[in-house]
């Protein structure tokens, strides 16, 4: 028994030694003259992957090509925040020219981990509330980035183009989702200025979306929804109410248009990534992140669905259909 115990100890020690040896044999970054970009994300999903591809595309366009003259590193925490924290620590240790963090928790971990390595966040809805930057001005710190917050005035312009006479705007949302609560608060001040009012319907769970929408029948001229996760995941139940009761539906993500909304002015996440990538290029060229203002997505895409419009009792103007990036038939 004691002998076999020794065998085990030895093999464990060997394993450890081997592991450490290979790890330290990995080429260091700090010494190399070429530029380096490290991208961390909490999880891989279509929108976030599009951001990553956009970043890479923008870097390539500026002449920084991964594997040639750019040390490109990408790590996903595969949904685990503990791993995300470790990825961020590793990146800080690698001292790249810029760390790009996708989504809120990863960005917070990076900002908490370093005050010196430049950090650019991407696809963070409210970087001010997340305390990544003190406000929307240039931060003066090592942090800047691109937010996926939607400018609501543009959303309301679209709403009025689709339903010109709308006075009462219904909104279905999850009161537990910070992003949605922010939108509701902003609409409460914005809509009266445009001569409209907001009627709220809460859907704390995805299964509540249908009944929340039904509670709006007769009380609203149009239903607007943000990118609320509950609503987006149960958008079909909203469409059912819209079609049956002839209430036009305006969404904030382009996928919902394919699922039965009349129109949406949404973010193209690849463009968002490219915008972040262009900001990274400025840093690679020597600018300080503290001198760069955090940006909103500069490019929104309009999707329209004339068939859904017909079912929900409105006709889309030719001009609007022509201006759309994609018309869903």
């Amino acid at each position: 028994m004691s002998m076999s115990k020794n065998t085990k100890r030895v093999s464990l020690a060997k394993l450890g030694a081997l592991a450490l040896a290979t790890a330290f044999a990995a080429p260091g970054w700090a010494q190399s003259a070429q530029k380096s970009v490290a991208v961390a994300t909490i999880v891989e999903h279509p929108a976030l992957d599009a951001v990553r591809d956009g970043i890479q595309a923008a870097l390539k366009q500026a002449g920084y090509e991964a594997g040639k003259n750019l040390r490109w590193q990408f790590q996903s925490a595969q949904g685990n925040t503990g791993t995300a924290a470790q990825i961020v620590r590793k990146f800080v240790g690698d001292q790249p020219d810029v760390i790009i963090t996708i989504a809120t928790p990863t960005s917070q971990a990076a900002v908490a981990a370093t005050k010196s390595v430049p950090v650019l966040f991407s696809a963070v809805t409210d970087p001010v509330a997340a305390k990544l930057v003190p406000n929307w001005e240039a931060s003066g710190s090592n942090v800047s980035g691109v937010s996926d917050l939607l400018a609501l005035d543009k959303q309301m312009d679209l709403l009025r183009q689709v339903v010109p006479g709308a006075k009462r705007v219904g909104m279905v949302y999850n009161p537990g989702e910070a992003n949605s609560v922010v939108v509701v608060k902003q609409l409460q001040t914005l809509l009266p200025k445009l001569g409209m009012t907001l009627v709220e319907a809460a859907a704390p769970r995805s299964v509540d979306v249908g009944s929340a929408a039904r509670s709006l029948i007769g009380k609203v001229d149009v239903i607007y929804t943000n990118t609320d996760n509950n609503v987006v995941s149960a958008y079909e139940s909203l469409v059912k109410v819209g079609n049956e009761s002839k209430i036009p539906l305006i969404a904030s993500d382009t996928d919902s248009v394919k699922r039965g909304a009349i129109a949406a002015l949404g973010i193209n996440y690849k463009d968002l990534g490219e915008q972040t990538g262009r900001m990274a290029v400025r840093i690679l060229k020597g600018e300080k992140p503290g001198a760069i203002k955090p940006e909103l997505s500069s490019k929104l895409e309009l999707y329209v669905n004339p068939g859904a419009a017909q079912k929900q009792g409105v006709t889309l103007s030719e001009a609007l259909i022509k201006s759309a990036a994609q018309v869903v038939r």
Binding site: T7, A23, S76, R89, V92, G93, Q108, A109, A112, A113
Partner: protein, 295 residues
């Protein structure tokens, strides 16, 4: 692997060693399959982050987080002991409920702690880099927790909890109130996990609703890795093994993160981690097989 990466692994490993100690109490000492952990870890983070951002001192906030975790553990144990709901199901119910409760506590999915004071900013020794100071402070906390646990499970009450876990019928025959012991053990277990959540939120710039996902898996993996490294029947050694297991697990992840030079990509991370852990687990089996072989 850079020093930063190593100390980062140590830091996260030390935090999760508190989770592992908690999981050791529920799964090994009490033999209670407790998934509450996935909810009590973010609960600790949420309570701590909200209190700190409202101006409470980080010391009090961390203690409050532990108290909240203890309540969560009590609730699971109460559902099982008093309402006779199956242990696994009771813990699942509390874990699910805690998701909503955590949203309520935080008033949203995320509470940042980037500009606020934390235990780590208050106790940071001057002249020492943050990435070294944090693991040092955590090491002190983990040592205190481990020693306290060793002491407690040697007292009469602690022994009663252990007896409840190893043979409840026998324990009852000795006049032990086994129901109360399950309640107490589960409260301590989840208090430790919530403390880990509070420390995690304070080192990682805030609490997030998603931070609990997979906590139980990591805790269990740490317990099992530790046990296979240092197989023992003595609790004092077992708690040490569990702490080491949590740290070793993190070093495996750090190693997997640094394995790109052999052609591995980001999406392979969990696979590499799993393989490394599997290797660590196979070793004691090989040992046993060798032992069985006649010399």
């Amino acid at each position: 692997m850079s020093i930063f990466s190593l100390f980062g692994a140590l830091e996260i490993g030390l935090i999760f060693s508190l989770v592992a100690l908690g999981v050791y109490i529920s799964f090994r000492v009490l033999r209670f399959p407790d998934l509450t952990v996935d909810g009590s870890f973010p609960l600790g983070g949420a309570v701590c982050a909200v209190l700190i951002s409202h101006g409470t001192s980080p010391y009090l906030a961390s203690l409050a987080a532990m108290a909240a975790g203890a309540l969560a553990g009590l609730l699971t144990a109460w559902l099982h002991v008093r309402l006779r709901i199956m242990d696994l199901l009771a813990s699942i119910l509390v874990m699910i409920a805690l998701y909503s409760i955590n949203l309520r506590v935080m008033g949203g999915p995320n509470v940042p702690l980037i500009t606020e004071p934390t235990l780590f900013t208050l106790l940071q020794p001057p002249g020492l880099a943050e990435h070294i100071g944090r693991p040092l402070l955590l090491l002190a906390i983990v040592i205190v927790a481990k020693l306290a646990m060793d002491w407690f499970f040697g007292t009469e009450r602690g022994l009663a909890i252990r007896a409840t876990g190893s043979n409840a019928r026998m324990a009852r025959a000795q006049g032990i109130n086994t129901g109360a012991m399950v309640l107490l053990g589960m409260a301590i277990s989840n208090a430790l996990v919530a403390l880990a959540g509070a420390l995690f939120a304070q080192t990682q710039g805030g609490a997030d609703i998603s931070m609990g996902i997979g906590t139980i898996v990591i805790g269990l993996a740490a317990v099992i890795v530790g046990e296979s490294m240092l197989p023992t029947r003595r609790l004092v050694v077992a708690t040490l093994a569990v702490v080491l297991g949590a740290i070793v697990y993190r070093f495996f992840i750090a190693l997997a993160l640094n394995s790109e030079f052999i052609g591995l990509k980001a999406q392979d991370l969990n696979l590499v981690t799993a393989l490394l852990v599997a290797v660590a687990l196979v070793i004691p089996q090989l040992r046993r097989r060798l032992a069985r072989r006649p010399n």
